[in-house]
Symmetry: C2
Subunit: 138 residues, 2 copies
C-alpha cells in the first residue's frame, strides 16, 4: 500500500457548526455542504495541500457507512498539526483563534523537543496543534 492519505474525514455532531468553524474561523476554502440529495450524504470538503482533502461528515453518517457505533466522544485519538514557519505565526494565529472564540487547550509554549506550539479544539473537540518546528523550518 502506497504511503498516502487522500482524505481525512472528521466525524462531527453538528455539520453546520463545524463547517462555519473551518470556513469562517480557520479560513479554509470550501463549496460548503454538498451531497444533501443522498441519504447520509451531507458532507463538506476542504481542499488542502497537494491533493489532500479534509472532509466534515456527521458522525452518524460515518458510523453507518463504516458499520461502527457512535459512542461518547473521545478526543485523545487524534491530533492534526498545522506547521508554521516561525514563532510569531503561532502567537498570531492563536490570538486570532482566541478572538474568534475557539477553545485554546494550551497557549503557545516551548515544547520539550525544541518546538514552539499551541493546541486548540474545533467545535467537536478535534485537537489541532499550531506548531513551529525549528528543525524543519526553511
Amino acid at each position: 500500500m502506497k504511503p498516502s492519505i487522500s482524505y481525512i474525514t472528521l466525524g462531527v455532531d453538528d455539520l453546520d457548526r463545524a463547517v462555519a468553524f473551518y470556513r469562517d474561523v480557520l479560513g479554509f476554502p470550501t463549496d460548503g455542504i454538498v451531497g444533501t440529495e443522498f441519504e447520509s450524504g451531507a458532507v463538506a470538503f476542504f481542499p488542502l495541500q497537494s491533493g489532500l482533502i479534509l472532509a466534515l461528515w456527521p458522525r452518524e453518517s460515518l458510523a453507518k457507512d463504516c458499520g461502527v457505533e457512535v459512542k461518547p466522544r473521545d478526543v485523545s485519538s487524534l491530533m492534526l498539526a498545522h506547521n508554521v514557519s516561525n514563532r510569531e505565526q503561532v502567537d498570531h494565529l492563536v490570538a486570532e483563534l482566541r478572538y474568534a472564540g475557539a477553545t485554546i487547550k494550551k497557549p503557545p509554549r516551548e515544547l520539550f523537543w525544541g518546538g514552539y506550539g499551541a493546541i486548540f479544539q474545533d467545535p467537536d473537540g478535534h485537537l489541532w496543534e499550531i506548531v513551529y518546528n525549528p528543525h524543519t523550518a526553511s
Copy 2:
C-alpha cells in the same frame, strides 16, 4: 490560516502493536519508535506524500500533552482514506489486508456516489477507507 495539515497524529493504546501494523501490514516506511529518551516522547513517524507525516503516539501521551482526558475509544470521529486508481487495486489491497489479519469492516462494494471501496480498521479501531473514485481518477 493556510489550509494545510502537516501531521496527522493517531492516538494508540499499544505503540509497538500499532507500529507493527503500519510498518509490516500496510508497508508504510518508518524509522520505528523514536523519542524514548523523553517522558511521554515515544512516537513513530511515517512520511507520506508531499510533506505530510503520519504519527503514532500513545493516547496517554497525547492526552497529557493536550490537557484532555483519555476516555473509552470512539471510532466514529475519524476516517482516513487511501485512494487508488482502479477497482482491482481495492480488491487486491483488501485481500492482502484480510490475509494479514486486519479487521475488514466493509468488503469492497459499490458506493452511493459512484465510487468503489472498502473499510478496514487498524489495531486501535481507526477507520480507513480504500477507495476508487471514478470522478477523480486519471
